[in-house]
């Protein structure tokens, strides 16, 4: 056990730090669309420096960083308050799925443009009647000349309105559950695809619904085998984002620094109950950071395990609790909606839903780690 960075890891960290000092893009714009463009420009800057695909193997244009280096990279980005790259879904899901299950042609076709940000990706999994129960998606794929015709509806699709490609899970046969789905890469820029923005509780529109009305996907855009999409989708969801545990803990830590300031401003730094609630948040943040690092050692030993669910559950409830405390110490200012903390209070409610709800994460821990009997 060694919790210090090795000389090579330190060199890597210093390299990233020095680069960030020179290349930081400055403060992010507030407006959702302008913010997205800002993140797109940032991805190009990262790409030019060879940092866009930090976790990707070198043969695909990535940096081939170790798990610890990825964690360091993510932490440095957060520490510098640098934005996330715009094509995040392409980078952490689309690319890895093509690398793992795609043909050589698909790799040539898609990977470089994910990295450069020239083509953005979205994830079309959830549907009105299939959220947690992803295997029951109803969007249909019918055989057609040279490919497939897609019809159906997806929902909650983040950044679909900016995406060129959609990772699409659709029903390709009437076979048994788990053997009737195919994983497609669907071109969003065609007549059979309509994207409608959905307004979120924060007032922004990051996510959308997508209507597919006979949209065409050529055979060469099927990932893996026909009817094997469930297994591929599961693998995608398991692609751990190594080091995100530690980086998201650091992001909260920075906000806790702001929160300490807010508590002092409101004269509550001597209030025992506020102090202890605050300290519990600090403790929880630290355990997420440590669980994240411990998870890296385990992930390094083989396939990423279901333990990632631990950090996902903790992070969601911590972020929610932090924004609640910030609200409790603000006095009358809490009635106004245009503060950063008001935005955070509302946005945090999505944390226990997006990326698999906290209940589903508990199911995963109960069934796959503790081996408890299943309800079904």
């Amino acid at each position: 056990m060694d919790l210090t960075l090795s000389p090579e890891e330190l060199r890597f960290r210093d390299e990233i730090r020095a680069w960030l000092d020179q290349n930081h893009p400055g403060p992010a714009p507030q407006d959702t669309e302008q913010n997205f463009d800002f993140r797109l420009a940032w991805q190009r800057t990262l790409h030019e420096a060879g940092y866009a695909g930090i976790a990707w193997p070198r043969e695909y244009g990535g940096r081939g960083a170790t798990l610890v280096e990825q964690a360091i990279f993510n932490e440095e980005m957060v520490r510098a308050r640098a934005p996330a790259p715009a094509n995040i879904l392409g980078l952490i899901m689309g690319g890895p799925v093509v690398m793992a299950h795609g043909t050589d042609d698909q790799k040539r076709r898609f990977l470089a443009r994910i990295l450069s940000g020239d083509e953005l990706w979205c994830q079309g999994f959830s549907e009105p009647d299939a959220g947690s129960d992803l295997a029951s998606v109803r969007t249909r794929a019918e055989r057609a000349e040279g490919g497939w015709r897609i019809s159906g509806q997806k929902v909650w699709t983040s950044y679909a309105h900016r995406a060129k490609w959609c990772m699409l899970l659709a029903r390709s046969s009437d076979g048994a559950r788990y053997r009737n789905l195919t994983y497609f890469i669907c071109d969003m820029r065609q007549d059979g695809v309509t994207v409608r923005p959905l307004r979120q509780i924060t007032g922004e529109s990051e996510f959308n619904e997508i209507f597919f009305d006979g949209a065409f996907v050529p055979d060469e855009n099927v990932i893996g085998s026909v009817d094997d999409g469930w297994n591929i989708a599961l693998a995608t969801l398991m692609f751990e984002r190594p080091g995100l545990g530690a980086a998201s803990a650091l992001a909260i830590r920075l906000q806790l620094g702001e929160l300490a300031g807010l508590i002092r401003q409101n004269g509550l730094d001597d209030d025992a109950s506020v102090r202890r609630r605050f300290a519990r948040l600090v403790v929880e943040t630290e355990t997420i950071r440590l669980n994240g690092y411990r998870g890296l050692a385990r992930a390094g030993e083989g396939v990423p395990g279901p333990e990632g669910s631990i950090v996902k559950i903790q992070w969601a409830s911590l972020n929610q609790a932090m924004t609640e405390l910030a609200f409790d110490v603000q006095g009358g200012a809490a009635l106004e909606s245009d503060s950063t903390w008001a935005y955070r209070l509302l946005r945090a409610r999505a944390n226990s839903i997006e990326g698999g709800t906290s209940e589903i994460q508990r199911n995963i821990l109960a069934e796959r780690v503790l081996q408890l009997p299943r309800l079904r």
């Binding site: 919790l3 960075l5 002092r264 300290a279 600090v282 997420i288 199911n363 503790l370 299943r374």
Partner: protein
């Protein structure tokens, strides 16, 4: 950087688990822990916490924590924790005269030390009968009571796996070195024991939830039960991460220990109590019987959390370290004291 145990550390954990399992399979409990102590002393386990220059093994706090987690899991009586905590306290907080005076004795089989808690002007000693000396800890002090009086005044112990005695502490000699450092190191060992308590309470809940049938299926299939167990896992793993990190920090980056030790104590104390209480709930009426072991874990958790400094004491310290302290207010600082590497 690598956050997991090496082969040697795993071997220590396996070896002490075997020793504890053997004790359990003999059906032994707290009443025979005197004999168990001799067995541990014979194999050298009791010398780990004493520095090499005083005849001990000078093991790292990380290695000691691994032993204590297993002791907690097996609910071994308090002698081992008390001895190890007393040794690290004297080693870290004693001065030039005090260390050579007491530490060599602690490396011998009959030089057992006990831990005590300052209380109402006197002290409560944990598992003190047969101990040669005791270290009495207060929130900001540590003092050595040497010898432990022969005739002890027994008090009823909440933790039924440990004995408790009331003593006068007027004659105890204060440790004159860095008391905080010794208290923090002892706190990590206590936290390690509490992780073991939480771990076993969770194992019992999972076992029961898998076997017990109601309404035609194992109760573990109901989410009200299985999600409770999943939450236990989150708490146990978090506390374990915090303790391993604090123990490593004590050995390698002692200037960071005050924060790490507080995080370890808070997470382990909370995990032990909450997991034991949730485990009792999962057991239903059986969990409320004297014969079934879960109440022993619950009692250990409740008492253990209150040994050394309280959780609230640690929470206050964490608040001070992270932007709510007097210095931070004066300086207008926002930066947390503890920098992530």
């Amino acid at each position: 950087m690598r956050f997991d145990l090496n082969d040697e550390q795993r071997a220590i954990k396996d070896a002490i688990r075997e020793v504890c399992d053997a004790r359990a399979s003999r059906g032994e409990g707290a009443e025979t822990d005197g004999a168990f102590w001799s067995e541990l002393a014979k194999s050298g386990w009791t010398q780990m916490a004493v520095p090499q220059e005083f005849g001990g093994q000078g093991s790292g706090l990380l290695e000691l924590s691994l032993v204590l987690e297993e002791m907690g899991r097996a609910l071994v009586g308090g002698a081992y924790l008390g001895h190890a905590a007393a040794a690290v306290l004297i080693a870290a907080s004693g001065d030039e005269q005090q260390r050579p005076r007491w530490l060599p004795g602690l490396a011998t089989a009959d030089g057992r030390a006990a831990l005590g808690q300052a209380h109402n002007g006197g002290a409560l000693l944990v598992d003190a009968s047969g101990a040669a000396l005791a270290v009495i800890a207060g929130p900001e002090t540590a003092a050595v009571l040497d010898p432990v009086p022969g005739a002890l005044n027994e008090a009823a112990s909440l933790d039924v796996t440990r004995t408790l005695h009331r003593v006068e502490s007027a004659g105890a000699e204060r440790l004159r070195g860095d008391v905080d450092r010794g208290l923090d190191r002892a706190e990590v060992l206590l936290a390690a024991e509490l992780v073991g308590v939480a771990q076993r309470a969770m194992e019992l809940a999972v076992e029961h939830a898998s076997n017990r049938q109601q309404f035609g299926r194992p109760i573990g299939a109901y989410q009200a039960v299985s999600h409770r167990c999943a939450d236990m896992l989150v708490q146990v793993e978090s506390a374990r991460s915090a303790v391993l990190s604090a123990a490593w920090t004590a050995d390698h980056e002692p200037e960071q220990l005050p924060f790490a030790a507080s995080v370890a104590k808070v997470t382990a104390a909370s995990a032990a109590w909450q997991v034991a209480a949730a485990s009792l709930q999962v057991h239903g009426g059986m969990g409320f019987t004297w014969e079934y072991p879960i109440h022993r874990y619950l009692r250990r958790a409740a008492a253990g959390a209150r040994l050394l400094r309280s959780v609230d004491h640690h929470l206050d310290r964490i608040a001070d370290q992270n932007g709510l302290g007097a210095e931070a207010v004066a300086a207008g600082a926002v930066q947390p004291a503890y920098a992530v590497p």
